[in-house]
Amino acid sequence: MLSFGNSQIKLLEKLCNAMSVSGDEGEVRRIVLEEVKPYADEVKVDALGSVLVRKKSSGKKPLRVLLDAHMDEVGFMIVHADDEEGFFQFETVGGLDVRHLVGKQVLVGRDHIVGVIGAKPIHLTTAEELHHTLEMEALRIDLGPQGKANVGDRATFATKFRRVGPSFMSKSIDDRIGVAILIELLKNAPKNIELCLSFSVQEEIGLRGAKVAGHYFKPDLAIAVDSTPARDLPDFDGHENHTYNTKLGLGPAIYMANSSTIDDPRLVKFMEETAVKNKIPYQFRQPGGGGTNAGVIQQSRAGVPVVSVSVPHRYTHSPISVSRVADWKNTLNLLHLALKNMTHDLIIR
């Protein structure tokens, strides 16, 4: 098992607190480049801004394995300045529920200027209005009187990473957790395979970065390392919750199918066997819905066998998600052991 402690947590904290809205991933890219350079044989930033990393094998004709994690997060773009009073119209970038926006602090632009998304006081709101969601066109980011921002600036939730008991809470666990895992795997790269890593951009707006990254590497197989929703909350009426997708604390979530991708059954089986053999807890994500970069990598060039493995988190695309440290650690170890034991046999037809 890989060593795991404070330095891994500090790195994830730094990654989560960075702003990296789809299409403007510079902050996370800088952290990734700094972390991977001492360990990689080849580092390149591609045309879209993804960081592509290669670590060679010591063997001959090694199996070439691509691991992907996306650097981008859902967020906002400033689209219009209303007046001198500091109110800015904004649009969402990626799938955000407008109901998560009101009453939140946000960070705007490269300088992380603090703004707030306010709402009419309840005292001035009618009983009828209280039943209706506040829609995007009614919301503004408020930077305070004379507050300055530029049209095109990106913004994100201002919540900060925090450890709580067995868990951690943060914005953007989706998918900084994957980014952190890939960095750790590079630092402990198994020698039997050629390890290719894509820290990809623009996943949240249509899996764009991974599409070209998959083409570049020509991998023998690929694993998308992402974070998937855990909807393991109680049902209001007390019925058992059968549609939880994943549950916190049960270990890495192995995919079998999502809305557009059937994961390669050989890889699914191999991941499960690796977990069982090494007594690592694991769970199968309930099939259906959602998607990861595995979907586009599978269809790159003449096709690539893929599987997705995710760390579960609650409250997707919201100001604060919740994940378990143990699930993170178990996902890291499962992937590391899987890579160490992979051979060409795995994908022979």
């Binding site: 709402a119 009187p145 008991g165 909350l233 409250y315």
Partner: protein, 356 residues
């Protein structure tokens, strides 16, 4: 004028929901003790600071009570299921600002402050028809990241849950955070007491940090009864112009404070405030309150045989949300106007407070 921001940030960073004001009361008491001659707590927990006036020709000495409520709106634990904490409201809370909001659970089991987030349950876990539009408060829950076992050891029904937005300084000399309603007014009253250290005044001044304004005006009713002030002034937040808020009830922030007009306000007190504001060049706007002021003044006015009352307002954007926003300059203006009003009170002022 001293920098009030560190004190203001400190009092919006401690607990003090309605009925449970002790933590914030302790900070205010510490700050006010050197500024007043006597300081006591009422039976319900309000702070009474007395700064004695110099009038000797009248007994008892006339007194002005300045009321700033120190309690905050928030949430209370109503039930716990599998480690998830359901809540009800204390004071008026718009459920629409809650999903994704950081909170502190004041766990009575061991006195810990637990960090948490308000979870909006996914549609499949809500009754039919409840997942569209506003998710009602009864369906929302707090997730502390702890296991069910850890939660049940620490958290009990009735524990308070407070907003946990960090105070931030913003453009235009503004500060944003939760519970600026009405701790910003407590800060203004503190500035007033500081000003009065060097300014002679003939009237006694009762500085009141009242409890339970957000639920019942309980502090204002009882302290006014006990202290029997000659006149009373409530300082509270008024609505700032901002997202979704315009019209006669709203005022730009940072451009001055407001004087109430309406049945809760004695016209003669209004007149004196207006005169003082003009003399010391503090911009004031009229805050029209056709029926209620919805401040402690509504209670103070109706206490015992009745008290002439006045309402001072500090404009605030996004009242009762986790991201309330006020201009520090307006807080300073309120503090200065209060002090100059108090200084202006002559011994026989009350005899001039007459109806036409």
């Amino acid at each position: 004028m001293s920098d009030v921001l560190p004190f203001l940030k400190s009092i919006i960073s401690v607990a003090g929901l309605s009925g449970h004001e002790t933590p914030v009361a302790n900070l205010i008491e510490q700050k006010w003790t050197p500024l007043v001659d006597e300081l006591t707590r009422s039976k319900l927990g309000s702070i009474h600071g007395l700064k004695k006036g110099s009038a000797t020709d009248k007994s008892p000495r006339p007194s002005v009570l300045i009321a700033t409520h120190m309690d905050a709106i928030g949430l209370m634990v109503s039930r716990i299921v599998d480690g998830f904490i359901y809540v009800t409201n204390i004071g008026s809370v718009d459920a629409r600002v809650l999903p994704g909001t950081p909170v502190i659970v004041h766990a009575s089991g061991n006195g810990e402050e637990l960090y948490g987030v308000i979870a909006m349950p996914p549609a499949n876990l809500l009754p039919d028809g409840q997942s569209e539009g506003t998710i009602a408060l009864k369906y929302l829950m707090v997730d502390t990241g702890l296991t069910p076992n850890e939660v049940s050891k620490r958290v009990r029904i009735g524990d308070r849950v407070a907003f946990n937005t960090e105070p931030v300084e913003m453009s235009g000399g503004c500060v944003s955070g939760h519970t600026l309603d009405n701790r910003a007014s407590v800060a203004a009253l503190t500035l007033c007491l500081e000003e009065l250290q060097a300014k002679p005044h003939v009237w006694d001044v009762w500085a009141l940090a009242s409890v339970q304004e957000e639920v019942s005006f309980g502090g204002a009713f009882t302290s006014t009864f006990q202290l029997k002030p000659t006149i009373a002034v409530a300082v509270d937040m008024t609505f700032g112009k901002g997202t979704g808020s315009s019209g006669y009830q709203t005022f730009p922030i940072g451009k001055g404070i407001t004087l109430g007009i309406g049945p809760s306000i004695h016209p003669f007190l209004y007149k004196r405030f207006k005169e003082v504001a003009e003399r010391i060049e503090i911009p004031v706007a009229n805050d029209l309150m056709p029926e209620y002021s919805s401040t402690d003044a509504d209670a103070m006015q109706l206490t015992a045989e009745g008290v002439p009352t006045m309402v001072l307002g500090i404009p605030q954007r996004y009242m009762h949300t986790p991201v309330e926003l006020v201009a520090v300059k307006d807080i300073q203006r309120a503090g200065r106007l209060l002090a100059e009003f108090i200084v202006s009170l002559e011994t026989d002022f009350i005899e001039k407070v007459v109806w036409e």
